[in-house]
């Protein structure tokens, strides 16, 4: 497992954190200006709007909820109602520069297929997800003996949309399996501060409450 390529992660996001969700600002910082971006699970379009304003990107979105889609289109964003699990296969190869999946990976039925599709549709993929290896999560399960409920995982076991939770370590492993490279990676603690980039991976996995990874398609596609 190799996360050293994540060492060039910024200490602080370059953009001011004027967004309620930390990962969105970090993602926006990772996207090159003017890029073609597909945001999968785009919600109310906050990220697409941010990307359009700050980076001048040509953005498209896919969103499962009708309410989210309607809000996006009323904002003038190009968004379609669709499901990350079933509809990504409709998109042609290399249709976008970046495919983004923010806080949605854990809610997909087939995360590996979703990731593979993302790296097929775009040369680069950006994924943010809650880290199930975070120490508070571990502690809740270990000491209370109950399924963890935290700020990033604020659902009870019986009503959660999150069906495929993973740790940073798990994620890095599946990226390796897919033959992709981690171009950059950032993990944040509960306060939203990035973990020191010099820290070893287990520190990330233990102290990171959520993570954002920028992947690049590798030559070893499977």
């Amino acid at each position: 497992m190799n996360v050293t390529s994540a060492a060039n992660a910024p200490e602080r996001p370059a953009q001011p954190l004027d967004q309620p969700r930390l990962d969105l600002a970090v993602i926006a910082e990772m996207v090159a200006p003017g890029a073609r971006v597909l945001d999968v699970g785009c919600g109310d379009g906050a990220l697409l709007k941010l990307l359009a304003q700050k980076k001048g990107v040509d953005g498209r979105g896919v969103e499962l909820s009708q309410r989210g889609v309607n809000e996006c289109v009323a904002k003038g964003l190009s968004v379609i109602q669709g499901d990350a699990d079933t509809d990504l296969s409709d998109y042609p190869d290399d249709g976008f520069d970046y495919v983004i999946l923010s806080q949605t990976l854990q809610a997909t039925r087939r995360p590996r297929a979703a990731l593979a599709n993302m790296l097929r549709i775009g040369r680069r993929a950006i994924i943010s997800f809650p880290n199930f290896g975070y120490w508070r999560v571990r502690a809740q399960l270990a000491f209370s003996g109950r399924m963890p409920v935290t700020g990033r995982l604020d659902y009870h076991w019986h009503d959660t949309p999150n069906i495929h939770l993973c740790t940073i370590r798990d994620f890095v492993e599946i990226v390796d399996e897919l033959g992709a490279h981690i171009e950059r990676g950032v993990a944040f603690d509960r306060a939203g501060a990035p973990i020191r980039f010099s820290a070893p991976w287990w520190v990330w996995n233990f102290f990171g409450e959520q993570a954002v990874f920028l992947l690049e398609r590798g030559d070893r596609r499977r």
């Binding site: 996006c72 289109v73 009323a74 003038g76 968004v79 379609i80 042609p92």
Partner: protein, 390 residues
């Protein structure tokens, strides 16, 4: 080109352009329509850059009067909810064009027009036209109006088919497109309903093999029945139930006869009668046939994505949850093809229990969607709120 009297209407003079025989409309079916009159209406003003024109495409039995008062029916235009100052199709900002389709009966050449080779009405000798033929005639009209690129082409149902055909036939002339409550091909069920309507018309003894005009009669009963059956397909069970249920009309008990005991029967009879006042039976045959023949993918080797390959047009596809005539799955097929072609596409399924007709009614989410889409497209096009070009 010259101004001419409308072909089959009485007592009103629409704006009409007539293309003389040196500019015939050659149809997909191998026909030739010349001269060709195209009746149209416009709303708002074309800006100096000629960049703010929107073409509105009417549905099966619609006409060029999208807004304002229809001079024939005396009622408001079919898209009154959407077209006007401050409305999504803002007449302060855009120059709206709406023409009566070829084969229609509101001033555009159709089966009721005089066939120049016989001196008599075409009747069923009129060339069978397609959606693409309708779009060709519209293209001739916008050329005549001096509009090179349309800011948007929008329409629902059969109008939506025209929107798709426009985007496929003239991608460089369509900046944005709104196909609403429509499909890229007419389904077997849709064709079946249309066939019921046509058979009703042709079964009327007054149809006279389509030569009723010359014989001074009209197949009103057949056309009214056609309209009644079609009208049911435009509504939803929920809307019918809410509006009528099993309520009786002007009586407290059933009469045990075939009178219109139920309110819904009375409603349909009224719809049928009102329709024959304003529509020509042969036109009904031709426009329904045009829809039936529509299969956009078939023109592109069976691949709908190829119809939109490398398109720069911005699309907004809209469907309605209770529309069973053109269900959401039809719209999804369009969206998938646009995605595969790399198009900029939005897709919204509006929750409504009003059925297919929802696009003609006051649906707040539909209005918000249209406004959002047009506003952002106008920004991209550099159109100021007053319609001037920035």
């Amino acid at each position: 080109m010259s101004e001419a009297r409308p072909a089959c209407s009485e007592g009103f003079t629409p704006k009409t352009v007539v293309f003389q025989p040196d500019r015939p409309l050659l149809t997909d079916g191998g026909g030739r329509i010349a001269p060709l009159a195209v009746a149209y209406e416009t709303y708002g003003a074309l800006n100096a850059a000629r960049s703010n024109a929107i073409l509105l495409c009417h549905a099966l039995t619609g006409d060029q009067y999208a807004a304002g008062v229809n001079p024939v029916t005396g009622k408001t235009g079919w898209w009154e909810a959407m077209v006007g100052p401050g409305k999504p199709f803002d007449t302060n900002r855009y120059f709206l064009i709406c023409s009566n389709v070829v084969g229609g009966c509101m001033g555009t050449t159709g089966p009721a027009s005089i066939n120049p080779t016989t001196g008599k009405p075409y009747g069923v000798d009129f060339p069978v036209v397609t959606i693409r033929d309708m779009v060709r005639a519209q293209a001739m009209l916008i050329d005549h109006l001096g509009v090179e690129t349309l800011f948007c082409v929008a329409g629902g149902s059969m109008g939506g088919m025209q929107v798709l055909q426009w985007a496929a036939s003239y991608p460089e002339r369509v900046f944005s497109a709104m196909p609403i409550a429509t499909a890229a091909k007419h389904s077997a069920q849709n064709i079946a309903f249309h066939e019921v309507g046509r058979q009703a018309v042709m079964a009327d003894p007054d149809w006279r093999s389509g030569r009723y005009q010359e014989q001074g009669v009209r197949p009103e009963k057949g056309l009214a029945v056609a309209r009644m059956s079609a009208h049911i397909t435009y509504l939803s069970e929920a809307a019918l139930q809410r509006k009528f249920g099993r309520k009786l009309q002007d009586r407290s008990a059933p009469t045990f006869s075939f009178d219109a005991d139920f309110q819904v029967e009375n409603y349909l009879r009224y719809q049928g009668l009102a329709f024959v006042e304003r529509f020509d039976a042969n036109s009904y045959l031709f426009v329904t046939r045009a829809c039936d023949y529509f299969d956009l993918a078939a023109d592109y080797g069976g691949s709908l994505a190829m119809a939109f390959k490398d398109t720069k047009t911005r699309f907004c596809v809209v469907s309605f949850t209770s529309d069973w005539l053109y269900p959401t799955s039809d719209s999804r097929a369009i969206v998938h093809a646009l995605n595969a072609g790399g198009a900029s596409v939005s897709f919204v399924e509006i929750e409504s229990d009003k059925g297919h007709d929802a696009f003609l009614l006051h649906e707040p989410m539909f209005i918000a969607t249209t406004r959002g889409f047009l506003d952002s497209a106008a920004d991209a096009r550099g159109l100021a709120p007053d319609g001037t070009s920035k």
